[in-house]
Amino acid sequence: MTDNSTTTTVAEAFGPGPAAHPPTTVATNTGVTPSPVQSPRSRMVERTIGILALVGTIATVWLGIWVTPPDKVQGDLVRLVYIHPGVAWVALYLAFGLAAVSSLLYLWPRTRSLFWDRLAAAAVEVGVVFNVCTLVSGSIWGRPTWGVWWAWDARLTSTAVLLVLFLGYLALRRVPAEPEVRARRSAFVALFAAVDIPIIHFSVNWWNTLHQGATVLNPNLSAKIHGSMAWTLLLGFVALTLVFVWMLLVRFRIGVLEDWLGANELDLALAERQSEGTGPLDGSAADRVGAA
């Protein structure tokens, strides 16, 4: 299985994968694919997003802690609203949602490409980090408001279950297998885990929970936050989304480099043997390299 050309336009922002990338080195007759060098344009896009993410995050923290007013009911604790829902949005909807869509596109025969598998893997890893942030910051917020660090509440429990499921996804990816086999089994697990996402979203409506309902995306779509508090909340969402996009780009790139090294390991070993002058590379030579 190799990357097909249909993904190259999507891949532009990520920097194309090994097969889609323009040849940056001239390979000898070793069967080694060209090394996946990142294009200057892709590097510039990544750097711009990184700077915007950093500026947005600093602005959110400044506005959230020092500028916005305290709440009538929650007092200063309301300041956590500018960051906690933002990380939850990234983890639950963006990262794991993207992983589910990418996995579906990998399983769909017409769009099958290892590009989608790499994208799903990158999204899940970043999503797990954001999911941990969601659970811990929620717990820190829960202690002074609910009186406990943790409750087996529907929203909290389903979010913790999602973390465990995607940790399982990452563990499964580390099981040695051919890239296609790994991609297929990972895609099924991602789709299975993604069933939990709508459960988390609607848990506050389906069950009586300690967790409050949605502030903006509630069933009536009537925002319960206004003025500087609303703008800071929005900025927090944008900034954390940019942080996610930047991390996704870098993590995707890591996947491209890892796959290139994995795919060329044997070819490179054979080429090194050949260059050492150990004789023609017949079947027995290849066996010796494989056994080593």
């Binding site: 001239v26 090394s35 942030c133 820190i140 890591i254």
Partner: protein
């Protein structure tokens, strides 16, 4: 207020550490690719932006 500071600090520290780890991993892998690809490939690279061929350092 200490809960607010703790919440912000945890998120920002975790994200910063993960970001640094990502950059470090990518740099280490890029170096490994350059090291591995070097001996078996001719030291010539095309610049996709300029469309030119340039020498690259081994």
């Amino acid at each position: 207020m200490r809960y607010v500071v703790a919440g912000y600090a945890f998120i920002l520290i975790v994200l910063a550490v993960y970001a640094v780890q990502l950059v470090w991993r990518r740099r280490r892998l890029a170096q490994a690719v350059a090291r591995v690809a070097g001996p078996v490939m001719a030291p010539v690279a095309t610049d996709p932006a300029a469309g030119t061929v340039t020498e690259v350092a081994p």
